[in-house]
C-alpha cells in the first residue's frame, strides 16, 4: 500500500498495464511530450516512445474511430479525450460502432477499448470544460462506464477497464486529480466493474452517489452523525451497468434514499437508480426517493458565484440529508 494521488493512480495503472501487455497503447491530443493537459500521461512517452503514446490530430471522431479499428484488430487502445465535453464529436463512433460491434457481428468482432475523459466542475472550467457526460452514455447497451472515487479505485478500475473485452468509458473527475489521495495497493490491483461500494454504514438514511460527490457526501454524513443521524453511503463506482443488488439493498436498509450527482437532474443516472428502487423496493420506503443534482441548465457558468450555485457541496448535501432524515 502506498498513499497516492488520484492522478498518479491513473498513471500507474496505464504504466503497469503497458509494461505487462504490449497491446496496450495510448492515443489522444497532447498526451505525448505534453503529458496531457492535466499531466496524466506525464513521463510515459519517455518510457514507451511515441508509437505507444501517440499524439493524434485534433479530431475526436478519429481518435475513437481509429482506436476502435485498432481494438478490432486485437490491440487494447486507451484513448484520451482531453475534456469529457469534447467527446461529443465522437458519439457516433462510440454509440454506433464501439457499443454495437460485438452485438452486430454475433460475437465475431470485439472492441476492447478504453476511453478516458476528465469530467466535472468547480474548477473554473465554464460551460464546456465542466460537464458531466455520463447521462449521454449510460443508457447505451454495449457500453460500460466507470467513475472512480478514490485513488485505489482509480487504479483498480482502470486496470479492469483495460483488461475488459468490451468498450469502457472511464470518467475521471478533474477536480479530484490532486485533491484526493488514499492508500493504493502496490502492483496488480483490480476492482471489478459493475460493483458498488458501501463507503459508510448507517441505519437512518441512505445516500447513493458517485464520483466527487462521494467525498462531499462523506463530509455531510460526518456532520449529520454529530446530529444523531446515521448514514448508509453507497458509491456506485460503475454507472453502467448499475449494481442493482447493491442499490436495492442500500435502499431497503434505511427506507430513506437520497440520490446525489453533479450531473443535471433530469434523465441523469439518478433517474434510473430511483426507478430501480421504485420497481424493486417500493414497499420498503419510508420517504419519497429524493434526488439532489445539478440544476437543469445547459452547463456550469464561468463566473464564480454562478459556478458555486451549480455545484453541490457538503452543505447542500447535508441540508438535503437533514430534510430526508426528518421526513
Amino acid at each position: 500500500m502506498t498513499v497516492k494521488l488520484y492522478i498518479d493512480a491513473i498513471r500507474d495503472a496505464i504504466q503497469e498495464e503497458m509494461r505487462r501487455d504490449a497491446s496496450v497503447f495510448v492515443l489522444g491530443e497532447d498526451v505525448g511530450v505534453r503529458g496531457g493537459v492535466f499531466r496524466v500521461t506525464q513521463g510515459l512517452i519517455e518510457e514507451f516512445g511515441e508509437a505507444r503514446i501517440m499524439d493524434t490530430p485534433l479530431a475526436e471522431s478519429a481518435i475513437a474511430g481509429v482506436a476502435i479499428g485498432a481494438a478490432a484488430y486485437g490491440m487494447k487502445p486507451i484513448a484520451e479525450i482531453q475534456f469529457a465535453d469534447f467527446i461529443m464529436p465522437a458519439v457516433n463512433q462510440i454509440i454506433s460502432e464501439a457499443a454495437k460491434m460485438r452485438y452486430r457481428s454475433n460475437n465475431d468482432w470485439h472492441c476492447p477499448l478504453v476511453i478516458r475523459a476528465p469530467y466535472g466542475g468547480g474548477v473554473h472550467g465554464a460551460l464546456y470544460h465542466s460537464q458531466s457526460l455520463e447521462a449521454l452514455f449510460y443508457h447505451v447497451p454495449g457500453l460500460k462506464i466507470v467513475m472512480p472515487t478514490t485513488a485505489a479505485d482509480a487504479k483498480g478500475l482502470l486496470i479492469s477497464a483495460i483488461r475488459d473485452p468490451d468498450p469502457v468509458l472511464y470518467f475521471e473527475h478533474k477536480g479530484m486529480y490532486r485533491l484526493i489521495k488514499d492508500d493504493v495497493p502496490d502492483g496488480e490491483h483490480t476492482v471489478p466493474i459493475g460493483k458498488a461500494a458501501v463507503r459508510r454504514q448507517g441505519v437512518d438514511i441512505t445516500v447513493i452517489t458517485y464520483g466527487l460527490m462521494v467525498h462531499h457526501a462523506l463530509e455531510a454524513a460526518q456532520e449529520l452523525e454529530s446530529e444523531g443521524v446515521s448514514t448508509e453511503l453507497l458509491d456506485l463506482r460503475t454507472v453502467a451497468p448499475l449494481d442493482r443488488d447493491a442499490i436495492v439493498a442500500a435502499a431497503r436498509k434505511t427506507g430513506k434514499v437520497l440520490i446525489v450527482h453533479e450531473d443535471n437532474k433530469t434523465g441523469g443516472v439518478g433517474a434510473e437508480v430511483s426507478a430501480i428502487i421504485a420497481e424493486e423496493a417500493l414497499f420498503d420506503l419510508d420517504a419519497p426517493i429524493a434526488r439532489l443534482c445539478g440544476p437543469d441548465i445547459p452547463a456550469m457558468p464561468f463566473s464564480p458565484p454562478m459556478e458555486r450555485f451549480y455545484m453541490l457541496d457538503p452543505d447542500k448535501i447535508a441540508t438535503a440529508m437533514r430534510r430526508l432524515a426528518a421526513f
Binding site: P57, G65, A70, Y103
Partner: protein, 328 residues
C-alpha cells in the same frame, strides 16, 4: 504482352476475376428477385459496380490484408472468401449468416476469419476503423494493407476527413477506395461534391489521389496495385476513386425514376464492366462464348443451391437477441 499480363495477372487470374463479377451479379439479381417476391425484406445492390470491386479486391491479398467494405462491396466480400451460401443466409437473415447471425441487413459484411471487419449502416464510420487496423498492424509489426470503400456521397462525412488526415500524418498502409456512382440515393454528384473529383481531396491529406474508369477492371486493378505496393513499401495511403454507376435503384425500397432518366440508366448499362471485361477475355481468347455460358450455368446452380439452403435454414431463436451485448 496482354494488358493483364503487363499488370502481372495470369490468364487464370482474369478468368477468376470475371467469375467473381458474374457471381456477384447473379447473387445480386437473385436477391432482388427474392425481394420482389416478398421473400426477403431488403436488398442493397452492387449491380454495375462489380468490375470496380473485383478489380480492387484482386490487388489485395486475402489472408494478409484487412478489408472494411461498404454495403455495395459484395464483389470484395466474395474475393475475400464469402460464399454464395453466406450471402444468401444473410439475405434471408438466418442464424447461420456469418456476418451477423441475421441481426443486420444484407450488405453489412463481416467475418473475422476472412479479415472482413464488421460494418454498420451509418456511412463512413468504417473509414477510421481501417486507419486503426493499419496503425495496429504497424504497432504489431505486421505487414499488410487495410482497404476501405465508400460512396462519393459518403466522402462528405467528417469521418472521411478525419480518417484520411490521420492516415496521412502517420503514413499508414491504407487504401481508401471510393466507388463514385454519381448518386447518393437521389442526390447527384453535383449537389454532393464541391470539387470535381473525390480524388481531389487526397492533396489535403498529403497523399496521392487517382481517378480511374471503374468500368475498366484492369485500370482499377492497376491503380489499386500501385496503391497497395505504396502502402506495403511504407509510403502511406492512397485514395483511389473509381467512376462507376449503380444500375439498380439505391435499395429495394427506392424508386429511381423520380431522379434519373431511363435513358441515362440504359446508356450506363451499355458501359457495364461485365460486358467490357467479357469481351476482353473473348478477344484475348481466354473464354469462348460457350465457356461463358457454362460459367453462367454453374453460377446459377450455385446460387440456386445457396438460395435453397438459406431459405430452409433456421432463424435464430428469438431470445438469441439477448446475447453478445457484452462478452459472455
Amino acid at each position: 504482352m496482354s494488358r493483364h499480363g503487363e499488370l502481372g495477372l495470369s490468364d487464370d487470374d482474369v478468368r477468376s476475376m470475371y467469375r467473381y463479377m458474374l457471381m456477384a451479379r447473379a447473387l445480386d439479381e437473385r436477391l432482388w428477385l427474392l425481394n420482389r417476391a416478398g421473400k426477403i425484406p431488403f436488398v442493397v445492390s452492387c449491380k454495375g459496380q462489380e468490375g470496380a470491386q473485383v478489380g480492387a479486391a484482386f490487388a489485395l491479398k486475402a489472408g494478409r490484408d484487412y478489408v472494411l467494405p461498404y454495403y455495395r462491396d459484395l464483389g470484395v466480400a466474395l474475393v475475400f472468401g464469402q460464399t454464395a451460401t453466406d450471402v444468401m443466409l444473410s439475405g434471408f437473415a438466418k442464424w447461420e449468416d456469418p456476418n451477423s447471425g441475421g441481426r443486420q441487413m444484407p450488405g453489412h459484411f463481416g467475418s473475422r476469419k476472412h479479415r472482413i471487419v464488421t460494418g454498420s449502416s451509418p456511412v463512413s464510420t468504417q473509414i477510421p476503423h481501417a486507419v486503426g487496423v493499419a496503425l495496429a498492424a504497424r504497432l504489431r509489426g505486421e505487414r499488410l494493407v487495410a482497404y476501405t470503400s465508400f460512396g462519393e456521397g459518403s466522402s462528405n462525412q467528417g469521418d472521411f476527413h478525419e480518417a484520411c488526415n490521420f492516415a496521412g500524418v502517420h503514413r499508414l498502409p491504407v487504401v481508401f477506395f471510393c466507388e463514385n456512382n454519381g448518386y447518393a440515393i437521389s442526390v447527384p454528384v453535383k449537389k454532393q461534391l464541391g470539387c470535381e473529383r473525390v480524388a481531389d481531396r487526397a492533396a489535403g491529406y498529403g497523399f496521392p489521389g487517382v481517378t480511374v474508369d471503374g468500368n475498366d477492371v484492369l485500370v482499377v486493378y492497376a491503380a489499386m496495385k500501385e496503391a497497395v505496393e505504396r502502402a506495403l513499401r511504407g509510403e502511406g495511403p492512397t485514395l483511389v476513386e473509381a467512376l462507376t454507376y449503380r444500375l439498380n435503384p439505391h435499395s429495394s425500397d427506392d424508386d429511381d425514376r423520380v431522379y434519373r432518366t431511363r435513358e441515362e440508366v440504359e446508356e450506363a448499362k451499355s458501359r457495364d464492366a461485365i460486358i467490357a471485361f467479357g469481351q476482353y477475355l473473348q478477344t484475348q481468347g481466354l473464354l469462348s462464348e460457350e465457356a461463358v455460358d457454362d460459367l453462367r450455368k454453374e453460377i446459377a446452380q450455385l446460387v440456386d443451391a445457396a438460395t435453397a439452403y438459406a431459405e430452409k435454414a433456421s432463424y435464430a431463436p428469438p431470445e438469441e437477441a439477448l446475447k453478445y451485448v457484452y462478452a459472455e
